[in-house]
């Protein structure tokens, strides 16, 4: 359709349709940018081979043209888009397979880690935050503040390393990787417990890293709501303390927390890179790092696109949750001039 008709129709399109179009445009933009930037980086995959005197430069040139690396950028982009539409998402030079199958396995591993960590972090942060907000200034609030400050000031890297050190010294848990070498020979319960044992260190590191921010936000949002007149009015009607906190205050404090939740979801694929690399968890993190170093550009672009996808999904989820949770947003009218 013509651009002018499209722009006239814009306000009357349903909200969700608009978001989908937004998302597609965003994905296209992200792909173009990541293409550009990765091509700007000097060198290509085959540069490593140049160092090897046994491989002639002709072979290298032939390889390059075989993989289409000698084509101009727009052509490479179009070929990549076609590959995406075919379901391959590009081709990995290092692993010699389509990016998709590579990504799926690694993404699954990452999601296992991050979803678990996120769920745990939120499940701990919300009750703790609510509790300390009602005990403002007292000893448990001050203890919580001190602990969160301490955790915040320790970099994620150090946390993960510290945990690893602890585990190594005490020989309690397996170190590194996702499963043991004898995984396939274990029974189903054995497999689950093996996986769980490997999960403990990275999950703990991630939870400890994200917990302080969550607790602080929950606390701050709750404190603000607890000062609102309707809380005092509810107290004046005899509503009990626990109910006041969880049924009255928390839902009203939820808005900024929902946005934060959206951010958490958005970072599910990208937030665990450091921890994965350090603990040897076979997720997207190590893959991305490897691919960057070896200029396996289609893998890099694939990972970036997957992260972008999650980011879009996370923000859409937050918006939907906001509409569901806050009746004011639901019926609040964005006023237009006719």
């Amino acid at each position: 359709m013509k651009l002018s008709t499209a722009s006239k129709m814009w306000p009357s399109m349903k909200y969700l349709e608009r978001r989908v179009i937004h998302a597609i445009l965003l994905l296209i933009g992200a792909s173009v940018l990541s293409f550009l930037f990765s091509s700007l980086a000097p060198g290509s995959f085959f540069d490593e081979m140049k160092l090897n005197p046994q491989i002639s430069s002709d072979t290298i040139a032939a390889l390059r043209s075989q993989y289409g690396l000698d084509q101009p950028l727009p052509v490479r982009y179009v070929r990549w888009v076609k590959s995406v539409l075919r379901g391959e998402w590009g081709y990995s030079f290092a692993y010699n397979q389509p990016v998709r199958s590579l990504l799926m396995v690694r993404a699954r591993n990452t999601l296992l880690l991050t979803t678990l960590a996120m769920a745990l972090a939120w499940l701990i942060a919300v009750p703790v935050g609510v509790w300390v907000s009602s005990r403002r200034g007292r000893w448990d609030d001050q203890l919580a503040s001190a602990s969160t400050s301490l955790l915040l000031s320790v970099p994620e890297l150090v946390l993960a390393l510290g945990l690893l050190y602890l585990v190594i010294r005490t020989h309690t848990l397996p170190v590194g990787g996702m499963v043991s070498a004898r995984f396939d020979r274990l029974g189903s319960w054995g497999q689950v417990s093996d996986l769980a044992a490997h999960l403990i260190v990275p999950v703990t590191a991630l939870v400890l890293a994200s917990l302080p921010i969550l607790v602080r936000h929950v606390r701050a949002s709750m404190i603000e709501v607890l000062q609102a007149p309707f809380i005092q009015a509810a107290r004046g009607h005899g509503i009990a303390r626990a109910r006041l906190l969880f049924r009255y205050a928390l839902p009203a404090a939820a808005n900024p927390l929902i946005s934060l939740f959206g951010l958490s979801v958005a970072g599910l694929l990208s937030g665990s890179l450091l921890v994965e690399v350090i603990t040897g968890w076979p997720g997207l993190g190590p893959l991305l790092l490897e691919a960057c170093f070896s200029r396996d550009i289609y893998v890099v672009i694939g990972v970036v696109m997957a992260s972008t996808l999650f980011m879009i999904f996370g923000s859409l989820l937050a918006d939907i949750m906001l509409v569901v949770a806050d009746p004011r947003v639901r019926t609040d009218h964005a006023s237009d001039r006719a």
């Binding site: 609102a228 007149p229 309707f230 005092q232 009015a233 509810a234 107290r235 004046g236 009607h237 005899g238 509503i239 009990a240 303390r241 109910r243 049924r247 009255y248 839902p251 009203a252 939820a254 949770a325 806050d326 009746p327 004011r328 019926t331 609040d332």
Partner: protein, 335 residues
């Protein structure tokens, strides 16, 4: 002594409240308040901003901030509220004494439906099935004057008009049939046309359920034909008290007189209003309500008083009973 009936519903003696009690400068909010309310009585508190009327209401409900210090006694149905532990307060509030706050738009949770909020009050005081609660909620809303009960129950506060919000607040207060309802400026943010309706709703409840009503306002006209007795407050003290008709016909305290003069004087034609006496200047009471940090040893109203004499600056007048049923704190009352 205040006029006592045999067994008053609420008996307040010597109530003195200061805010920021532990800081360098505690702020006195109430000074030696004595007050009785009989069961089923409608008592009006007439006072402007800074008179301590809201503090009085909060004291009866035990909602003063932690930094406030309260002395004196408050007896509700024979129970000494000043010695009540927090656990008991949750049973008293809402069930024996309930409050209608000043701005219902702000005193209702924005993310809960109106019906649920009323239901929560029932749930806090009685166990029972949700169906039963729903019926009680609907009957409370009807008592408060709502006709399309279902819509209001399902609506969120921001979807309701000012008048509807006020009625929801009334329903919340009366749903557990408290013996005393305190209404703190319940009509302040409303259009004039709605104010009478809300007042009528309150009066209907008082008549139907026999709950005593403590109606706090700054406008004397709202109490005429509505309250049985009036207590005039200024700077934390009760400066005059008595039956409404008598006080309005013959106010003894200069402040009461000043307030009554401010009510617009209508020009009558047949039996409806045909205008208001045009004035070159309104008879405003000079000065602003006395700030707490300016209270000296003398009468707190003295700087603004038209009837002041030399004594008024030095000493604070004690309460006297010039006639049965009337109290006044003024050296020059009636002049």
């Amino acid at each position: 002594m205040p006029s006592t009936c045999a067994s008053p519903l609420l008996r307040v003696r010597g109530l003195t409240v200061s805010y920021d009690a532990h800081s360098q400068q505690p702020v006195p909010a109430l000074r030696k308040i004595d007050l009785d309310i009989a069961p089923g009585e409608v008592v009006g508190i007439l006072g402007e901003s800074g008179s301590g009327k809201s503090t009085l209401a909060l004291s009866i409900l035990g909602l003063l901030p932690e930094s406030a210090k309260a002395e004196g006694s408050i007896f509700l149905e024979g129970e000494d509220l000043s010695r009540t532990p927090e656990s008991r307060w949750a049973e008293v509030r809402g069930a024996k004494v309930a409050m209608i706050f000043q701005e219902p738009g702000l005193s209702l949770s924005p993310v809960m439906r109106a019906g649920d909020q009323i239901s929560e009050v029932i749930r806090a005081h009685r166990s029972g099935k949700s169906k039963q609660r729903k019926k009680e909620v609907q009957s409370a809303l009807k008592d408060a004057g709502i006709t399309d009960v279902n819509r209001i129950c399902r609506a969120y506060p921001h979807q309701l008009s000012g008048g509807e919000l006020h009625r929801v607040a009334i329903a919340q207060a009366l749903v557990c049939r408290p013996a005393l309802v305190i209404a703190d400026e319940p009509t302040r943010s409303l259009d004039v046309t709605l104010q009478s309706e809300i007042q009528n709703a309150l009066r209907d409840i008082n008549r139907k359920y026999g709950s005593a009503l403590l109606f706090i306002t700054h406008n004397p006209a709202l109490l005429a034909g509505f309250a049985d007795r009036v207590l005039v407050m200024y700077a934390g003290r009760i400066v005059e008290a008595g039956p409404v008709a008598q006080v309005y016909r013959r106010p003894l305290h200069p402040y009461t007189r000043g307030l009554l003069q401010l009510v617009p004087e209508p020009l009558q034609h047949s039996d409806h209003i045909s205008g208001f006496a045009q004035r070159e200047r309104l008879p405003a009471i000079p000065g602003s309500p006395t700030r707490f940090d300016q209270l000296g040893g003398g009468c707190s109203f003295e700087p603004r008083c038209s009837a002041r004499t030399a004594d008024c600056h030095i000493e604070s007048p004690e309460e006297i009973v010039p006639e049965p049923d009337r109290r006044v704190s003024c050296f020059n009352y009636g002049n």
